[in-house]
């Protein structure tokens, strides 16, 4: 694939809106990779794939998660800064998401 010339220099984490409390991975990020998180060096605790989210700062249980500046659900459990935020810890405030195995993100 033809990658654009400045690809390697782009920060791996995207803040989509200033109010957001999650960041989006611009590419696959390996566990242990050193990244810039809100202007500070930070070591990624676990691998995060392209398009997935991680916590911008520590989030308590029931915290409303914001992406694009809009609520996208609430935390089922507390997570630390930089942790992967996904179906295992974030639930819909509307209709539970389902998995192939038949589980849902309802609590």
């Amino acid at each position: 694939m033809t990658e654009l010339p400045n690809h390697g220099k782009l920060p791996p984490l995207l803040l989509l809106h200033p109010d957001d409390n999650i960041l989006v991975a611009r590419r696959d990020i390996a566990a242990g990779e050193r990244v810039d998180l809100d202007g500070e060096p930070f070591t990624i605790p676990g691998a995060v794939e392209l398009g997935h989210k991680l916590a911008r700062h520590a989030l308590p249980a029931d915290a409303r998660v914001l992406k694009y500046g809009a609520p996208i659900g609430s935390m089922k459990i507390a997570v630390g800064r930089g942790e992967h935020v996904h179906v295992h810890n974030l639930r819909s405030d509307y209709i539970p998401s389902t998995t192939r195995e038949g589980g849902s993100d309802a609590h």
């Binding site: 694939m1 990658e3 654009l4 010339p5 400045n6 690809h7 782009l10 995207l14 989509l16 989006v24 991975a25 611009r26 590419r27 794939e49 392209l50 398009g51 997935h52 989210k53 992406k67 694009y68 809009a70 609520p71 996208i72 659900g73 935020v85 996904h86 179906v87 974030l90 639930r91 819909s92 405030d93 509307y94 209709i95 539970p96 998401s97 389902t98 998995t99 192939r100 993100d105």
Partner: protein, 405 residues
Amino acid sequence: MTGTNTASLSMKGFPRKDGRKGIRNVVAVAYLVECAHHVSRLIVQKSGADDVHLIGFPGCYPNKYSLEMMQRLCTHPNVGAVLLVSLGCEGFNREQLRRHIHASGRPVDLLVIQQSGGTTRTLNAGLDIVKKMRAELAKQQTVPMALDELVVGTVCGGSDGTSGITANPAVGRCFDWLIEKNAACIFEETGELIGCERIMASRAITPELGREIEACVDKAANYYRIMGYGSFAPGNADGGLTTLEEKSMGAYSKSGSSPISGLIKPGDVPPRGGLYLLDVVPDGEPRFGFPNISDNAEIVELIACGSHLILFTTGRGSVVGSAISPVIKVCANPDTYERMADDMDVNAGRILQGGELDDVGREIFDLVQAVAGGALTKSEALGHQEFILTYKQFEPIGPACLPAA
């Protein structure tokens, strides 16, 4: 919509009796019950022509929605002629459909398999009819066509965490520019806009329309709750999306930033340029199952609303096209693009690698005009002509839904 002043050099259309113009001139072969599907498919396959498309309705029980949808689809501006194929005993009102197509000025013929004498005789008769129809369509001339005569629909399928950052907002830019030129643009799937209802309502051109939009998203949320599933597939989660409202926010960005001019239902053609929301969720208590069982069911409804072409954004990677209207695939995810480039018309994933949103939006805008001018999309060239139509029930839209009509 008229617009000889802004005629684009590249765009041309086949003029139809109702004033609309087609960017393709397709012969549609339409089965009116599943029992006539195979014979219809044989006619399409053995015709050996890319511009002969298979459409149809599988059910034996009559249904107002499916008759209206077939009427809209068979008189879509991209359709030049129609061959109807009936088994003979099904409930579909084939005579009304034939009269409707005939009144539109299009060549139409009907074969009833039980009367024609079975598979082989119907096939041979069908091939003869299609050949004559194609010869007749080949004589038709195109005329210049302007952007304000164009209807463009958008749909997303196989969304992931990149969709709402790259492909969807790029389509939104394209929509904004098309609407500036007074094209009609349609976005849809109210069940995938759950969580965006208040933001959308604030963009409506009247407060009454805003209330209708909120009510129709409430209807969708209620419907999906009863069905037990939101419009959220396991692949969405594999790709980083966690919740329905997160997927919604990403999908919503396809609509761009124009005011919302109306709320329409399947088969309603936008009365003029502007941005329209298509309500695809049936009215009343859930009756016939999920609102749209797969992406192509949404595409068919966008086409029934007059969409000349479809902008399909995908993150995980869809390969589908459609009968009747070309599908332009905008790939959101750079890794998916790398794996499936043969199926993708636009690589919007490059936005994640430093590309500009406006550049991708401009590429889509230019491609819309090229495809309207006759250029084939990837899915067209690969022979994708998916089509699906199922049972549904709708009430007509209320007066507040089209304030400017």
